[in-house]
């Protein structure tokens, strides 16, 4: 069951990811991304991260991506016109990317040979209580700092979106 | 919540409160910040009480953890070294606000908020006993001053502000790096701990290490002082800054550098400090003479005073690196003196600027006829600045020169040249601006000093005389603190001497019995 779920949602995630890249219309890309996020949320659940799974849906899918869709709609962005990519990017990026993926996969396999298999329910630490406790004790300062960050981001967004600029 | 914390927090609270005051009610803002800063000053006077009773030691200490990892503590307190500088900060803030009463008429709210923030930072710098906390305050000071110059300054304010900012920043980055290195080595940012570790030999550096650390710290401070040849930001910053900015910059901010040298460079890196002392003294001496000579030919009053600061602060460095009681006492005393007298000079120049909107000396002349009291005040300040006995600067200069004389009379002779030259440029300034026939276009503009301005000037004048005649108020506590620092700055040196003595002693002992196993 775990394997099936993983494989299914992993495939969905990868498929949506590929779709994100190849689709020419931003809305399609955005929806693909939502798909990726939803699949990832399920994978998080499998990994015992129930709070993160929900947060993923609420924050990413429910808020951030809505914002994206909103902007796309607002700008009424159409299909990309031409697929202009500089030679440098092609010549450098493609091999680099391939090498990157190869290196990472190889290293993961190589450096973590004896890792256990993932069983649903094996890790119960990702509850809201656990995260809350950790977040408001050990990580209180970063948490507060992030709140400031968000405040600043709001201000920045407001300033940027004003008409005068 | 002891008194010191109150004195430290009030400006910050004032800064925040000022921010929420209604923007267009300028007089309310002025009144609020004036009253608040006066209250802070009065409170800060309370800080001095233990020093009259028992002289030395650390008082009003608060030591609580601030950040767990890395371990940064909110460790503040005052000793004889910092207490007077704190008072200086709290005194000059209300004066600066008073000086800017009419002069600042745009963005009043922000101006006063920044003044209070500056006060907060300055007090913080002087009372922080945690290196990191110190650094935080150090940088806090930078921001309001940047804006004070950049927003309320004169024509080339942006250039000056950026120059000021970059210069100071360049130094403080080095200092931060050194602090982090120190932390990695000692696992603490706490100054008293560090000094303790060094004293007990638990923390030691290789010669090169110590030298580099010392230089990193020293450079940051030397830029602030400013030591020749790092001084070129100063004239620009002063000329462009508004009066209050100049006062705070000259009177207190420059002391951050000198204070920090005494506070940190000497006890933390004693050997390196002593090794570098001759070179630093040479720079200081060059600064003294050079600053005076350049001041002599400045056509601009503020620039003149700024270069005179370079010269005066050379004395402070000279005294500091004489490594004896008199020199160090004189250096600290001179910090206060310079704060009072140069602050007053900038203030008076500011008064004149308000009346005529020019800083060029040649646009003045014969001011004393229409403005006799202004010129009298200016004259007294001038005399204080050139070190006339019974006025404050004399004590500082005397002690510094005396201190340096213990080391080398040549240093003293060169530095004393600066004293002569100071008379030249200041009196020449006075003569050109105040004496002679009254300049035509001054007539009608040049009013005499008004009660508000007098109220700002009187405290400084009183202090000039007080500090020049009755040093007992200030000197004993300074002396006590300096004695401690001097003791600490002997850490490595004495040990070396001791070791040598022991060696010779052991040799003497062991001579008859032959080789003994080296126990240590």
């Amino acid at each position: 069951m775990d394997a099936l779920l993983f494989l299914f949602f992993a495939l969905v995630a990868v498929g949506c990811g590929i779709n994100l890249v190849v689709q020419t219309h931003p809305i399609s890309s955005a929806l693909s991304l939502i798909g990726v996020m939803g699949s990832l949320a399920v994978l998080y659940l499998l990994l015992g991260a129930e709070f993160m799974a929900m947060a993923q849906l609420i924050v990413y899918a429910g808020a951030i991506m809505v914002l994206f869709i909103f902007v796309i709609m607002l700008l009424n962005a159409g299909v990309e016109r031409k697929k202009g990519t500089s030679m440098l990017v092609k010549a450098l990026g493609v091999p680099a990317l391939v090498a990157f993926l190869g290196m990472v996969s190889y290293l993961i396999q190589r450096l973590m040979p004896g890792t256990e298999n993932v069983t649903f329910g094996a890790f119960q630490g990702g509850t809201v209580q656990a995260i809350g406790r950790k977040l408001f004790t050990e990580y209180l300062l970063p948490f507060e700092v992030t709140s400031v960050l968000i405040l600043i981001a709001i201000l920045g967004a407001v300033v940027l979106a004003r008409k005068e600029i | 919540m002891n008194l010191l914390n109150l004195v430290l927090v009030l400006p910050l609270a004032g800064f925040l409160l000022t921010m929420i005051l209604p923007k267009n009610n300028a007089s309310l803002i002025r009144l609020f910040s004036l009253v608040l800063s006066l209250a802070i000053f009065v409170l800060s006077l309370g800080l001095t009480s233990p020093f009259f009773q028992s002289g030395n030691g650390n008082w009003f200490v608060t030591d609580v953890p601030w950040i767990q990892s890395p371990e940064i503590r909110y460790h503040v307190g005052v000793d004889g070294l910092s207490i007077w500088l704190v008072i200086l900060s709290t005194l000059l803030t209300p004066i600066s606000i008073l000086v800017s009463w009419k002069h600042i008429d745009k963005r009043v709210k922000e101006f006063h908020a920044f003044m209070l923030l500056l006060e907060f930072g300055l007090i913080g710098v002087f009372v922080a006993w945690d290196l990191f906390l110190f650094y935080v305050f150090w940088e806090v000071c930078l921001v309001p001053m940047y804006f004070l110059i950049g927003v309320w300054g004169h024509e080339r304010r942006i250039y000056a502000a950026v120059k000021f900012f970059l210069y100071t920043m360049a130094g403080s980055v080095l200092m931060l790096a050194a602090m982090i290195y120190l932390y990695n080595k000692a696992n603490t940012f706490d100054y008293t701990n560090l000094v303790d570790l060094i004293q007990r030999g638990r923390l030691s550096f290789t010669g090169l290490e110590q030298m580099l650390l010392f230089l990193a710290f020293f450079l940051a401070f030397a830029i602030k002082v400013p030591l020749f040849p790092l001084h070129t930001w100063l004239p620009d910053a002063h000329v462009e800054a508004p009066t209050a900015g100049s006062i705070m910059l000259a009177a207190v901010m420059l002391k951050m550098g000198t204070y920090s040298i005494v506070r940190f460079c000497l006890p933390l890196f004693p050997q390196a400090a002593r090794e570098c002392a001759p070179w630093i003294v040479i720079l200081a001496l060059i600064g003294i003479v050079y600053g005076a000579l350049v001041a002599l030919v400045q056509p601009n009053m503020k620039k003149l005073v700024a270069y005179s600061s370079v010269s005066h602060l050379g004395f402070v460095i000279l005294g500091t690196f004489s490594f004896n009681q008199a020199g160090l006492d004189g250096a600290v005393y001179q910090m206060l003196n310079h704060g009072i007298s140069t602050g007053a000079l900038f203030m008076l120049v500011g008064f004149m600027y308000e009346r005529t909107h020019t800083l060029e000396i040649k646009d003045y002349g014969g001011v004393s006829t229409p403005a006799p009291w202004l010129s009298t005040v200016f004259l007294i300040t001038t005399l204080a600045s050139i070190g006339l006995p019974t006025l404050n600067n004399f004590i500082g200069e005397f002690l510094v020169l005396q201190g340096s004389a213990y080391v080398s009379i040549t240093w003293t002779a060169i530095a004393a040249l600066g004293v002569i030259l100071s008379a030249c440029y200041m009196l020449w300034l006075y003569q050109r601006a105040f004496m002679g026939e009254t300049n035509e276009h001054l007539k009608g503009h040049m009013h005499d000093i008004n009660p508000r301005e007098l109220a700002a000037a009187i405290p400084l004048l009183i202090l000039m005389v007080w500090m020049g005649t009755y040093t007992k108020t200030f000197l004993p506590s300074i002396s006590a603190a300096n004695a401690r620092i001097l003791e600490q700055s002997k850490a490595g040196i004495e040990m070396k001497v001791d070791a040598q003595n022991n060696k010779t002693a052991r040799l003497n002992q062991s001579a008859p019995t032959g080789d003994q196993p080296n126990v240590r």
Binding site: I64, I72, K83, E116, N117, V118, Y139, A153, L160 | -
Partner: protein
Amino acid sequence: MPTTVPLTWYLILSAILFGLGVAGFLFRRNIITVFMSIELMLNAVNLSFISFSYKWRQVDGHIFSFFVMVVAAAEAAVGLAIILTVFKNRSTLAIDEVNSLKN
């Protein structure tokens, strides 16, 4: 067919998604898509955080990815505001044409 998969698979999935994000960044012209590719990369990183969290049975990884989310949210707010402004001024979303930094 085994009923479970090794943890490394999750990590490799994360790497693949990251690679896809990079690819999107490299080959797409639309600034919004590029932006979304970045989000994809962040998501991929989150996955590996949570995988490692599973491996060590520690909740810290969750916290980290939580912060990543927060930062992503802030970034999205500012980034999209910038995009709006850019579009308002230049009427284009192609990043190649937004090049006033050049020269």
